[in-house]
Amino acid sequence: MTQPAFTIWITGLPCAGKTTVGKMLTQNLLERGLLVQRLDGDEVRRELCSDLGFSRADRHTNNLRVAYVAGLLNKWGVVSVVCQVTPYADTRSELRRKLPEFVEVFLDCPLEQLINRDVKGHYKKALAGEIKNFTGINDPYEPPEDPEVYCNTHQLTLAETVTKITGYLEEAGLIGPAAGGDAAEPYTSEQEAVVKKRLADLGYL
């Protein structure tokens, strides 16, 4: 029987870096020998949800459809990396209930930075009133309160963001350490000995 896999759900405002982080994370996990499928917001909208718009109900349905696919993939041992805005807290709670192992990754970034970044020009249009229901401008984004991984993409580099996510997956026992052993250990053996002695002197060990 295949070991069931898990879903990494990357949520955040438009332009927060979800697709970029998702791609790099997928590559990282593939290199570790895992089966991985990325489900990206734009592609899913085109292929699976072209009938849906951007109302609250439609966004909810869009997210649930993707979760269904992600869950099927998980069942056969494939890690799903989902990159979608997923703006509503109650939708994300439902995803958490539906998926067997749900890792919520919140890419946070101050809105003013995103407006500066605006790679697709959507913020500009939304601020000019040309796009309706644009998350962050005229549609709400409810930030996750307790995500498994929180990354401020304004402060972290892309590589640091991916390392933080894989670090969590390792700590949670969802994946093994990267081949060749990375620098994830907080202590060298000498440093660990120093701290252990400190605890031993206190009778804590």
Partner: protein, 451 residues
């Protein structure tokens, strides 16, 4: 939800909070006649607000307790269960660090709301996290160079001869040197704090003092016994702490809210209980050939313990050489141990050693419950449970004469009258501090704001 508003409207006046953490200082030490003699300034200070006794957590250890404080959640959510934890398969004892935290910290919440923060010396802050401000790690940091965020802070602290902890091995070998080290460590910490308070921008600042826990561990007995020199040294230490606190409070910016709290209380040590001795003597723990270490336990072991008072069933499918099947046999064994340990008494004095033996699911709830010990012992006051192997007796004593207590930590906030309807716990501190800063407490937090 007003995200746009938050960035583009003028933000309301920010509230500043300073938190002083006093490790291992009991409620009774900062109130009443004991408080007036030991720390007179602090005792007067706490009259100008609300001082409450506060319950700590099980196991009552600084790392578990402070993690509970700064996440506002119970150990099965934040994932820290002791100074030592274990990977079951293959068996490996590990030392959890801040990287093992599974919940967001107060500092991360505040950073997300773009509050500027400074955190110094709070246990389980190594490795220091990237925050909107600065952090100086705790005594889990191997050295100062790796203890700070940002790294540029380390040389400034080195210049001030900042100390991460005292050298407690001195307490056994050279008490005079130990006392001098305590004073140096204490005064340098306050000095560094006052400089950073003045030089760095902050909305939230927390300074933790660890030397209180250290002196309590080693000098509690002589202090209670009225030992001529050591009792005087104990009192002198607290008077100096009291003066440092008065100086620091005098420098707080006007309107800054002050919170002072401890993570657990202290009492006279009644003895050290070697739980693995009992498990071995009663046939639950079998050690194979070779070095007496838990990783060499025999395949027919049914239970073993890690300090303090955490019992793991050698469960099939979970442990490296699991022996006890899950389901009924696992439950029966837990019941048997609860029953037998509940009556455990001091072999010489007949004193009961254990207040209660808890199943993990009765103490904790959360996603990481599966990593908690299967049974957690709540000791009778003063008894400390350890996991040494090869001890000749069930109960022993050593040069550590003070022991942690769970019920008499304290929480103080200035200028505000609080009248909580129920006794408070460490879980309530973080939601309260967030509310003092006009920020909402995340629903995932287990505690409640006391305001």
């Amino acid at each position: 939800m007003g995200l746009l508003k938050r960035f583009f409207s003028k933000s309301p006046a920010r509230s500043r909070v300073f938190v002083l953490g006093l490790d291992g200082v009991s409620h009774s030490m900062v109130s009443g006649s004991l408080g007036r003699s030991l720390v007179p300034n602090l005792t007067e200070l706490v009259n100008g607000g609300t001082l409450l006794p506060m319950r700590s957590v099980l196991p009552t250890m600084s790392s578990v307790a402070w993690a509970t404080y700064f996440t506002g959640v119970n150990p099965a959510k934040h994932g820290i269960f002791g100074f030592i934890d274990r990977h079951p398969n293959p068996f490996q004892a590990v030392m959890p660090t801040a990287r093992d935290l599974k919940s967001l910290t107060l500092w991360e919440h505040l950073s997300r709301y773009h509050r500027e923060i400074g955190v110094m010396g709070v246990p389980l802050t190594f490795p220091p996290k990237q925050v909107n401000g600065f952090m100086v790690g705790c005594f889990f940091s191997p050295d100062l160079a790796s203890a700070t965020f940002p790294v540029e802070l380390a040389p400034r602290l080195m210049e001030m001869d900042y100390r991460l902890d005292v050298d407690t091995s001195l307490a056994r070998d050279d008490l005079g040197a130990f006392l001098a080290d305590l004073d140096e460590t204490l005064s340098r910490r306050f000095l560094a704090c006052r400089r950073l308070m003045a030089e760095e921008p902050w909305d939230f600042f927390q300074l933790n003092v660890i030397t209180t826990d250290r002196i309590n561990h080693f000098l509690w007995g002589p202090w209670e016994d009225g030992d001529e020199d050591l009792a005087r040294a104990f009192s002198a230490f607290y008077r100096r702490l009291d003066a440092h606190i008065a100086d620091l409070v005098g420098e707080l910016p006007s309107g800054c809210q002050l919170v002072i709290l401890s993570d657990h209380g202290f009492t006279r040590s009644a003895g050290v209980v070697y739980l693995n001795h009992w498990l071995e003597a009663n046939g639950y723990l079998l050690l194979g050939m070779g070095k007496k270490e838990l990783r060499n336990m025999h395949a027919e072991t049914r239970a073993y313990s890690l300090a303090p008072g955490r019992i793991y069933i050698n469960l099939e499918g979970r442990e490296e050489r699991g022996h006890v099947p899950s389901g009924r046999p696992y439950e029966d064994l837990r019941e048997e141990l609860i029953h037998r340990l509940g009556g455990l008494a001091h072999p010489e004095t007949g004193q009961p050693l254990i207040k209660a033996v808890h199943k993990r699911e009765d103490l904790y709830h959360g996603a990481h419950l599966g990593r908690a010990a299967d049974l957690i012992i709540e000791p009778q006051t003063g008894f400390d449970f350890k996991a040494d192997l090869g001890r000749a007796d069930l109960v022993g004593s050593d040069h550590i004469t003070g022991a942690h207590t769970i019920d008499d930590a304290f929480f103080f906030v200035n200028d505000i009258d609080l009248a909580p309807s129920e006794p408070i716990t460490l879980l309530d501190a973080a939601p309260t501090i967030l509310e003092l800063m006009n920020l909402p407490a995340p629903e995932a937090m287990d505690g409640r704001s006391l305001l």
